[in-house]
């Protein structure tokens, strides 16, 4: 296997008296697609959000691309290398699509307006909506918004992409257009950690799937095995509810 890009060591996290993460460890290698599944409240989103420190953890250590997440400076350095896509898209509502993709390139990457615009146009082509550059987020469908959100994250040339239930807020007919973009990314060798229950995507793109429950990793296997022939009772129980 190639080099290690995310190291998560014994992470714990609590919200009030709820233990969200109870000592989770996970290694992700460069170019890998890792899928995380699990019931709501199992800590999968929290784990993902710890990787770019949108969530602080109580103990343990996370090292991303050789940078430990321990100082404000390092956190910003890591965030520049890690793109994130949210369930609710979170496009900047007051900006046109193009400006959404340009903003961080300009003020974080210090690119010229011209260069940033060029990158944005190319990425809009890549995600299949080059004609929406001048639209406001509200004018787009959910699937289009999510694709813009992916383009916005990619514009920063991240080494890692995190997806937090990217298709959960979408109508069924829009899920495919987003998953297709994600599949393309996976094929290009992007390192991806994806919280999602999209089995089709997992089978096509992921080498590893992880089931989390009650703040712990219960089982880890290839998607094929995890979905069809899991070894843990907890996994079986969960899958029986998800797969119909």
């Amino acid at each position: 296997m190639s080099e290690l890009i995310i190291q998560i060591k014994e992470i714990t996290k609590h919200f009030g008296n709820v233990e969200a993460l109870r000592g989770v460890s996970l290694d992700v290698y460069k170019g890998e697609v890792v899928l995380i599944i699990g019931p709501s409240g199992s800590g999968k989103s929290t784990l993902l959000r710890c990787i770019n420190r949108l969530e602080e953890y109580d103990s343990g250590q996370i090292i991303v691309d050789g940078i430990p997440l321990d100082s404000a400076q390092n956190i910003n350095a890591v965030r520049r290398e890690v793109g994130m896509v949210f369930q609710s898209f979170n496009l900047f509502a007051h900006m046109k699509v193009l400006e959404n993709i340009i903003l961080a390139q300009r003020i974080v990457r210090n690119r010229s307006r011209q260069e940033a615009e060029h990158v944005a146009q190319e990425l809009l082509k890549k995600v299949g909506i080059p004609d929406k550059a001048d639209a406001y987020p509200i004018q787009l469908s959910g699937g289009q918004q999510q694709r813009v959100a992916i383009a916005r994250a990619l514009a920063m040339n991240p080494k890692i992409m995190l997806f937090d239930e990217p298709t959960s807020a979408l109508d069924p007919e829009m899920i495919k257009e987003v998953l297709d973009v994600m599949l393309d990314l996976a094929r290009e060798g992007m390192t991806m950690v994806v919280v999602s229950h999209e089995m089709g995507f997992a089978r096509a793109a992921a080498k590893r799937a992880i089931l989390m429950d009650e703040g712990q990793i219960v089982e880890e296997a290839t998607p094929e095995i995890l979905f069809t022939n899991p070894s843990h009772e907890r996994t079986k129980a969960f899958l029986s509810k998800v797969l119909h």
Binding site: N76, F86, L91, F92, V108, R109, Q139, R152, A153
Partner: protein, 273 residues
Amino acid sequence: MNKQPLTSAAQKELAKIPGAEPQARMDPWWWLVALVAGLVVALVVFRPDPYRRILIFVADGIVVTILVTVVSFIFVLIFGLFGGLGRLSRNRIIYGFFTLYVEIIRGIPLLVQLIWWYYAFPIILQMIGLDITLIIPREFFAVSMAIMGLAICYGAYMSEIYRAGIQSIPKGQMEAARSLGMTSFQAMRYVVLPQAFRIILPPVGNEFIAMLKDSSLVSAVAVADLTRRGREFMAMSFLPLQTWIMVALLYLVMTLFAARIVGFIEKKTKFER
């Protein structure tokens, strides 16, 4: 420009884009502004005695009222921003300081605050051996204290408006900005505040109009604003009825006009979420 008639679907599409409405319809309330202004003009033209005399006498007061209001309001916008951010700070000292500011100021009547800055504050400065006239020339002292009093008072109320506006922006906006590597300052500056400003515009406009009216209180602390000039004219002419009709109409023209301007800016900056 595209001269072809727009389909209704295209119009609907355009209407969602700020400033792209094919023809922004004129706000009908402009007629009220015109009506009141017309009334003032009619009084001055057809009853020059005493209305023209009154207007000429209080004209410098109008300038002072506008000046005090506009200058104070610029400070209010700045104080409100710091106050609002301070009230949202996770730093306990900053939070405590701005909360104390808001709580104290909101609990004291504006007139008392203005009197305090004008009469009491200089004594404190004297006690610590500071000569205020070195910083502010004597002739500007009253108006400076009035502007400071208004700005500090309204700044406290404005803090709460800013705070509510910032809090109304979904957390995901900040998270998305931070996940792109922006510092919290950049995220505030480019993502959260521009959206918050649009949301708080109506209450901010209301504050401006309220302050325009409350600026009449500065007449109690030796500032020759519209109200004070009106009082002086009344004392001189013994025409209370005509004087205060004119003064009231002049305030009304200003507040109605300001309300229309606020409405116009609101329309221009509207965006849908």
